[in-house]
Subunit: 226 residues, 2 copies
């Protein structure tokens, strides 16, 4: 559980980091907006805690930049300001929760936990097979956070196979599902797209994940659990 505190008051960072470490978090920190953005983009945090008043780049701008970078990590804003406008401004910018200074440490902890929980709970269904990850909603195929660009047909076939891991699919069934038409029994389109898929997975040593069942069809065979 890695989190980051972006706050220019070093004493406060020190105190929070100690408390949160004791609660089992690995705590990173940044003392201005630019440093914060840099770390957030380059790392995977479970939660971001940030102050609105920051040197170099203020909190609102920072939140916007984080979201623009495609990060949906939950953000908890700490601030001395306690006006409704500030709250709204922060939440509109893309923050997930708000805490006004001075605050109770236990409350901070509770909110961080709630944010993290909500975030992981609301994560969309992801198909996974060893290091191969498929997000059907974002239509993204990843290996170790590296995106493998797939074309429509390739993606649809892989999704079908991964959705029913280890089940054998005949060419007929694949054609029926992906093309939504009947198989005339002659074309080898499926085979060709399977080849394209394997070509794209080969650089990651995942060629064998798409297995041929001779005389029957194809299936996904996950190496790390069978």
């Amino acid at each position: 559980m890695k989190i980051i505190i972006i706050e220019d008051n070093r004493d406060l960072v020190q105190v929070l980091a100690e408390g949160l470490s004791e609660s089992g978090f690995i705590v990173d920190s940044a003392y201005d907006g630019e440093e914060g953005l840099d770390k957030v983009v380059k790392n995977e945090y479970e939660c971001i805690i940030l102050d609105i008043m920051l040197p170099k780049m203020d909190g609102y701008e920072l939140i916007e930049k984080i979201r623009e970078a495609g990060k949906d990590t939950p953000i908890l804003v700490l601030t001395a300001k306690d006006s409704i406008e500030d709250r709204v401004k922060g939440l509109e910018a893309g923050a997930d929760d708000y805490l006004v200074k001075p605050f109770d440490f236990r409350e901070l902890l509770a909110r961080i936990n709630a944010l993290i929980r909500r975030h992981t709970e609301h994560k969309r269904p992801i198909l996974q097979c060893g290091p191969l990850v498929l997000d059907p909603i974002a239509r993204e195929c990843k290996v170790d956070d590296e995106i493998i660009p797939l074309r429509k047909r390739e993606f649809d076939i892989l999704e079908l196979l991964m959705r029913y891991e280890n089940q054998v699919f005949s060419r007929e069934r694949i054609i029926a599902h992906v093309w939504k038409k009947e198989y005339d029994g002659t074309s080898n389109v499926v085979d060709v797209h399977i080849k394209y898929l394997r070509d794209k997975l080969r650089p990651y040593n995942l060629e064998g994940i798409v297995a041929t069942v001779r005389g029957v069809g194809y299936k996904i065979s996950c190496p790390y659990r069978q």
Copy 2:
């Protein structure tokens, strides 16, 4: 695909039922714990969606009663409560997944589908004979989690014999089932493939599982129950 929603908020039930019907489910409902238990026991649902806060019998108790009644239907719990204790309590009682209100309908749908899939996958028909296991959907033959690669003909013959364990099959019947043609009365193909099968099973001391019935045909004879 019949599912049931057990929830006392009738408006919510109405909304969910509409959405799920559109997604192809047949939706039943109950407005309190007792009614829910009654319907669950008397019907066959693919999935149960229930609220923790219910009149007459709370969700935890209901889950326990459902499991006591021998139903292993997947249960998805809906709740406004968002504390770790509640999650743990629900999951310990025998729920399969959890969703905190307010939730996104698409996520509910995705989770229901995931649950049903996991459940039906789990209930995949598996043929077993002592240590020999055959999964016709994955087309896998295993002994103690070790896969024995079989070719099409070998697999098809073994599947036929294992499906009707201990029943003798003549060459005619085997040819008819596996080759889907008539037996001309001269070929020894079946014998040859039976040999191949035995060769592959021999390293696991399972050669004798494929037994010859002289003058009649072949059968599977399970060593540990005859």
